[in-house]
Structure formats: C-alpha cells, structure tokens
C-alpha cells in the first residue's frame, strides 16, 4: 500500500487499486494520515529539554547511581553474613556431613572395636569392658 502511495507499486497492484473500492479506501485513509503526519512534523519543532528537564535528568542519574551502589553494598554485606553469622542450626547442619565423612575415613583405618571403646569411654566413662557379656564389645581384653 505504501509503495502504491509513493507511486512505486507494481502495475497489477495499481490496477487492483483502481478496481477495488475497499483497497482504494485504505489508500485514501493512508494518504490522509500521512498528510496529517507530515503537517505535524512540519509544524511543530522539537526542542531539547530546558533547565528543568536537565535538572530532573541529573537527579535521575544520581538516583540510579545511588541505587546501584546501595544494591552492591547490600549484596556485599549479605555475602559476608552468610559466611560468618549463619544461625546455629544451619551451621550444625552444614558441618554434620563433614564430621560423618571424617568418621568414615577414620573407621576405614581403625578397627571397629577401638571406635567402640572410645565411644563408651566418652559417653559413659570408665572401662569399656566392664560388661564382658556385651555382644558389642568383642574386642575387650
């Protein structure tokens, strides 16, 4: 349609425009709109923003920069908090797997009886072999 408006349409398209009332109407509407647009662009001349506009823009720039710095600082402080000041429960949960891994590593090197003896010693005190009938103490001597 635009090409027809500017006179660069193909011959069959121009012929169609002459015979089709609907398309001719659309072309007329386009012509009218483009005239209106051309007049508007000819008549009103844009101008750069004045002092108030520049002032507002400067504030906008300053606010954007302050927001970016605040976001960065907030993110940085949260990052530090996650490393140092985690709640106790979270800290224990984090470290538990490490302990169990250590136990597995130790158990691979030490006999089970030695681990058991150390456990009884820690938890109950005294001789781990006080009860010789304990089936869990085969290593007592």
């Amino acid at each position: 349609m635009l090409q027809c408006y500017t006179g660069e349409g193909a011959s069959d398209e121009l012929a169609h425009l002459r015979s089709c009332l609907a398309c001719a109407g659309r072309l007329k509407a386009l012509e009218s709109d483009l005239n209106l647009i051309t007049q508007a662009l000819e008549a009103a001349l844009p101008r750069r923003r004045g002092v108030h506009g520049w002032s507002f823009s400067r504030w906008r720039l300053a606010i954007s920069a302050a927001a970016a710095i605040a976001a960065f600082a907030g993110g940085w402080s949260l990052r530090g908090a996650s490393l140092v000041e985690l709640p106790v429960g979270v800290s224990v949960a984090r470290h538990a797997p490490v302990r169990s891994t250590a136990a597995i590593q130790v158990s691979a090197l030490e006999p089970a009886s030695a681990i058991y003896a150390a456990y009884v010693q820690d938890e109950f005190g005294g001789d781990s072999c006080s009860d010789m009938s304990d089936p869990l103490g085969p290593g007592c001597q």
Partner: protein, 176 residues
Amino acid sequence: MGKVDVLPLEHDDFRDLYAEHRARVLRLCRLILADADEAEEVAQEIFLKAFRFYRSGGRPEAWNKWLATVAVNACRDRLRSSWWRRWRGRTEEFDEFKAHSHHSAEESALQRETQRMVWEKFGRLSARQREIFALRHFEGWSTEEVAAQLGLSQGSVKQHLFRAVRELRKGIGKEL
C-alpha cells in the same frame, strides 16, 4: 546561522545557495535528530563543509542531493557522538505550534495534541527509520536512491518505512 553574512562579496553564489537550501537542510536535520538545538548546530557544520567544498572549486551535479547526503552523514555522526546526551533526556518540549488562526480553541488544542503525539512517536523511531522517512517523504527520494545512499537493500528500506509509518499512524490513533 547568520555567519554566512560575513562572506566576501565574491561568494554571492554561495549566499544564494545557502538561502535556497538552509530551511530544507535544517528540516532534514531536525527530523533525523529530533532535536531543534542540535539540528541548528549540525546545519551550521554542514554549510561550513559546503562552503569549503565550494571554495575549493567543488560543484556537485545537484546541490540539494549533495547537501542531503552530507546532512545524513553529519546527523549520524552527531547521534553517535552524543548518545549519552540523548539518553540523559528525551525531547519533550516544543517550540510554538503553528496552529491555523481560523481554528477554534478546541480545534487548536486537538491539533497541538496530534502534533505532540506524532512527534513523540517520531522521536521513538530508530535513527535509521527517521532517516528513511525523512528522505523518502520530505526529500522525495526514491526507494532506490535511499537504499543506495544508506547502503541498504530496497527491501530493507521498504521494511523500515513500513514500520515507521505504522508507528506514526498509531500516534494519531490509526492502524496500518
């Protein structure tokens, strides 16, 4: 733009050339830059280049074509160099609207609103779309000439023009 008045007398031809083409070059710059102040500056630069070219004996086939080409390139350079200034604030103020005196107050208000909407939409078009629209509709260049000047295919020029017109029609409440 009054600096041309200090030209030596032997450059009367150039003074005529300036008088003949100034308004057209300024309009083209305003359309591409969508900024009246910058358009004034760029138009001055263009005529300075034109004067140097003229003084060195340059005589193009058609001054209007030569000036339009120089204007497009100068505006493009200006847009590249001042991207941050344009980001800082979009054009929103307008000089006096030329409303027809025989219109009623209501009609004038409507006219102003239409002009504002059209300029707002026009300012939001890409620089390429503004260039193509200005060269095609205001300078009267053919699609082929615009494509050759901007280094684009004719199909690309048509596509840009179609999109530009569609956006501008939205500005006046119409759809393509």
